[in-house]
Amino acid sequence: MNVGLPGAGIGGLYYLICTAIMPFKEVFLTVTKPKHKFRYRLVSIQVSIASAIVIGFIGMYQLLNNLIEADLSLQTSIENDSFLPTTLLPIAISLALLILILAIVELFALVSKKKNTVAIKK
């Protein structure tokens, strides 16, 4: 069940970051918990997918830039192209936004009191 825009937005960025953390978390768990076995298969597959996505983004970025450069008539039609999807600025903004949103949620979690809110009412 996916709602809204699966694949797009800051969600994708969030999952990429989560994947980047996985190997470090595995190392930490392996070192600190004697019974923990490093989940090589799961981590390597997910890290490979995430790496391929990042490489795909870089390739996409290059491809679109080349297409834009080739089409001079389009390029000259705008004065400030820094907000175009093919520049790094939207990615930087998305990252900053993601960090801000997550920080706000963590702050809320920190200051709000834990209540039993799971009473079932049918």
Binding site: N2, G4, L102, K114
Partner: protein, 372 residues
């Protein structure tokens, strides 16, 4: 995760199945083992597909103790088909009005340790139950779900859903699972600890996404949910816009209703609070941006802003192709990606409509409508 051969060693209650074959199912394997699972299948006018569902249950490598079809007031011959296949059929006094209602009707009489809930239009891979069962390793694990792949991939909407599932279950759900918080134990195919279901009063009727409600409730109670990617189920997905709209509407309203209901509780569940927040942002703000800001910018400033619609293609294409390649379905997946882009636009528009109705107009969706 124990495999089937280690069931006995790991203390699972598995015994030889001697009584589960009806005369009409002589082609079933003869040396199956039986596990303490009752399968419940809510059905309303499912004559077209219920036989496939029941047969796939009867062919499981690990047999369930009982298969119960809840015939929820069908006007077709759903019940007769099921009886002819040798499974138990029960009928509420009147139509319960929802899948959850039908499931709850059956739940009260379930005596087995585990309950498998599957939709009437969903078939299972032969070892799906065995794999879910094997993941019930700790007492804290109350629900286990599997990988979902559409049974039919022909129409635009089925193709869009096919890509969506391949992408989400290969990448997003695996990561959620790694951090021990799968967002949902899918309503179409999940194994539950019966005791937990009874403890929380069964499937709740208070939202349109009872599976999400059940999952988030579990986390707040300190329970665990597992995702087993090798346990595969094949539901029939909406084949046209009419039914897809109904399903997406139910999902969108269900998500918003669950966020409203659980917002305080999930704030204290690490990782879940992050994925729900990010999902809320993407489904609302990003949808507005996607549907209005990008087209406006492309008209007012430059058509190059339309690139925003395809800039995230690697995020969609790569996980999809990874799974599709392993299934030998690369071409099918590649040709289905445009359908996903269409489905995504429709999904975001329906979500915004649901958001407006739930939060601004205060008109919550309360009527359950079948997705096909």
């Amino acid at each position: 995760m124990p495999n089937s051969s280690s069931f006995y060693q790991s203390g699972y209650s598995v015994k030889p199945n001697v009584n589960c074959f009806s005369e009409k199912n002589k082609d079933l394997p003869v040396a199956r083992e039986i596990c303490p699972v009752t399968v419940i299948v809510p059905a309303y006018n499912e004559a077209a597909c219920i036989a496939d569902t029941v047969n796939s249950l009867l062919r499981q490598s690990l047999a369930a103790e009982e298969i119960i079809i809840i015939d929820d007031g069908s006007t077709d011959n759903t019940a007769e088909i099921c009886r002819s296949l040798g499974v138990t059929v029960i009928s509420p006094p009147e139509n319960t009005g929802s899948k959850a209602g039908a499931q709850n009707y059956a739940l009260t009489d379930i005596k087995t340790q585990y309950t498998l809930a599957i939709d009437a239009d969903t078939t299972l891979q032969e070892d799906a139950l065995e794999k879910l069962y094997a993941a019930m390793t700790e007492p804290e694990v109350v629900a286990v779900c599997g990988f979902v792949i559409p049974q039919h991939v022909k129409t635009l909407w089925e193709r869009g859903r096919y890509v969506e599932y391949l992408m989400a279950f290969t990448f997003y759900k695996e990561i959620q699972s790694y951090y021990e918080k799968p967002l949902i134990s899918s309503g179409c195919f999940s194994l539950f600890r019966t005791e937990y279901l009874k403890q929380i009063g069964g499937w709740s009727l208070r939202t349109m996404a009872e599976d999400m409600d059940l999952t988030w409730t579990a986390y707040q109670l300190g329970k665990k949910v597992r995702f087993v990617p090798d346990a595969i189920c094949y539901p029939i997905e909406p084949h046209n816009f009419h039914f897809m709209r109904k399903q997406l509407k139910r999902w969108a309203h269900g998500f918003i209703q669950n966020v409203k209901l659980h917002r305080k509780g999930i704030l204290h569940v690490p990782f879940l609070r992050s994925i729900v927040t990010v999902m809320c942002w993407d489904a609302s703000i990003a949808s507005i941006f996607y549907l209005t800001v990008i087209p406006i910018l492309s008209v007012v400033i430059s058509p190059l802003f339309l690139l925003g619609y395809i800039i995230d293609l690697p995020m969609v294409v790569i996980p999809t192709l990874v799974k599709a390649y392993s299934r030998g379905e690369t071409w099918k997946a590649l040709t289905s990606i445009p359908a996903f882009m269409v489905l995504r636009v429709v999904n975001s528009a329906i979500f915004l409509e649901a958001l407006f109705k739930e939060l601004i107009l205060k008109q919550p969706l309360t009527t359950y409508e079948k997705g096909h």
